[in-house]
Amino acid sequence: MSGSRRSRWWLIALAVVALALPQFAEPIVVHTAIEILIMALFAMSFNLLFDGAGLLTFGHGCYYGVGAYTAALLMTEIGMPMFPAMFAAMVMGGLVALVFGYFCVRLTGVYFSILTLAFAQLMFSVFQQSYTLTGGDLGILDIQPPAFLMAVNNYYYFTLVVVGVSFWLLWRILHSPFGRTLHASRDSVVRTQFIGINVRRYRLAAFVIAGVFASLAGALFAPFNRAVAPFLVSWVKSSDPVLMTLLGGAATFWGPVVGAAVFTTLHEVAIGYTTYWLLLMGGILLVGVLFLPGGILGFLEDRFHGAAAARGTKMTEARGASSNASAD
């Protein structure tokens, strides 16, 4: 994503395919494509923290779930239209991320990860047990998108626009001075402090931004799926973006998207043949982590972009080295 000509052509080709997809694909494929887009946004919001700031969260499903539930509740309980409900979901996700993040960014390394998981589990319990508000383990049913988004193709285009704009925003954020500063803190927390940066504050800001985009992904999912359940807030959901990002390649901007596409497609295909699809995913991930340490996209960049893009794995190595050093 260094703005090289080749990656620009790839991007244009991808955009053309994405725009034309409903014209030639079966509805079930379009349906899967919507899921991929939503998961891609979810994974990319996770990677803003992971590759962007060097923070591994195990609780990102929390914000996805909060977004999904907020949109679902507002639409079913008070009949709020979908767009304002989505906006409210982002605000709510941001607020929850602000409160939980305030405590999480006080910790570093694995302690940070564990605390994010603890908060997510807390949220999971709340959603699962409060029958009056969230329907407990039954969840919320009958979430209807507006009439013009009922057709799967229309919902697809809507999702494509929302996710596309979000990708653009995230790209800008990662390449802004703010994004640079996050990267700096990932490379060396100590040095970042000594260039006058209050690292905690920047981490909290990143945590909130990631929470807002994860909530948006959740808010896109609820009316698409017509129902939400506590599963969306669970630790399994939190593991999705982690696995997708590692599979696709964390050190590349589009890695999480590739990971989401592969992961979701495999799921759709495998679940038709076997109920042990998690076993299959586990095997694929194992192979991925062992043989493609830079993820799928990292591997492809190394292979086809030659020396210019040895960057993918280099960055992964560098990050590995520095995250050990900065686990202070």
């Binding site: 802004s176 703010f178 994004g179 640079r180 060396s188 000594f194 260039i195 006058g196 940066i197």
Partner: protein
């Protein structure tokens, strides 16, 4: 005076690593702190810059008490340090390393939507020229030679436009040529840019070659403080060094 510490103390358990240090840094000087290993030089730097909180005593910079302020505040006040090794931004290019500091100093880091790549190119370039790192501007910092890395260490600090630059072992591990170049760079920064430099150093040739003032530490205390000639003749200093090295 630029900076003054009074009875600055930092202990780890029963070890008083910095033990009641009074030190004055006058402006316009290359001021060296020397002493055998374990003398407390590094800890002193760490306390001075807020990395370790002081147990007692105070640090006064330009008539303001900066004791126990966090590092990010102290570095904005004008006391900036470079490290001995390994604290550059590895995945950044040389250019981006220096630029990151300037972005921070100019208060641009809250900007979410401008593209960082095109910002402050001139300011960054000027520092790279001072360091002689213009040709390596687009090299990833993780690929630099040891000497270039040490210069980049200083470059990041210069991005903060320090009034007092603290350098921890600026020539450690360098070849004789690199050492000479680094010494020349330090002299240039003081002479041409009016910077004040306080540095720790093991290489006595460097210390007596460029320092205008020397403080000697031993077991957490200051045992001598003065002009190079006076320090060289000091009995106590000779005893400490000869006792160590013979």
């Amino acid at each position: 005076m630029l900076l003054r510490t009074q009875a600055l103390t930092k202990a780890f358990g029963s070890l008083r690593a910095v033990d009641g240090v009074d030190l004055v840094v006058q402006p316009g000087r290359l001021h060296a702190i020397i002493g055998p290993n374990g003398a407390g030089k590094s800890t002193f730097f760490n306390v001075l810059t807020g990395f370790f909180p002081a147990d007692s005593g105070s640090v006064i910079f330009k008539d303001q008490d900066i004791t126990r302020l966090p590092p990010h505040v102290i570095s904005r006040r004008g006391v900036v340090r470079a490290f001995q090794r390994g604290t550059i931004f590895q995945t950044f290019t040389v250019f981006e390393n220096v630029q990151a500091a300037i972005l921070s100093r100019k208060g641009k880091t809250r900007n979410l939507f401008e593209l960082a790549a095109g910002m402050l190119r001139e300011d960054t370039r000027r520092i790279l020229e001072t360091l002689g790192l213009v040709d390596q501007a687009n090299v990833r910092a993780g690929h630099l030679s040891h000497g270039d890395l040490k210069r980049l260490e200083i470059g990041i600090a210069l991005g903060m436009e320090p009034e007092l630059l603290l350098l921890d072992e600026p020539t450690a591990g360098m070849s004789p040529e690199e050492t000479a170049a680094q010494s020349a760079l330090m002299q240039k920064l003081v002479a041409e840019q009016g910077l004040n430099i306080l540095f720790t150093e093991h290489d006595m040739e460097v210390v007596f070659g460029i320092a205008k003032w020397i403080t000697v530490m031993h077991q957490g205390r200051v045992i001598a403080d003065g002009k190079p000639g006076d320090v060289r003749r000091d009995r106590h200093v000779q005893a400490v060094y000869l006792g160590e090295e013979s």
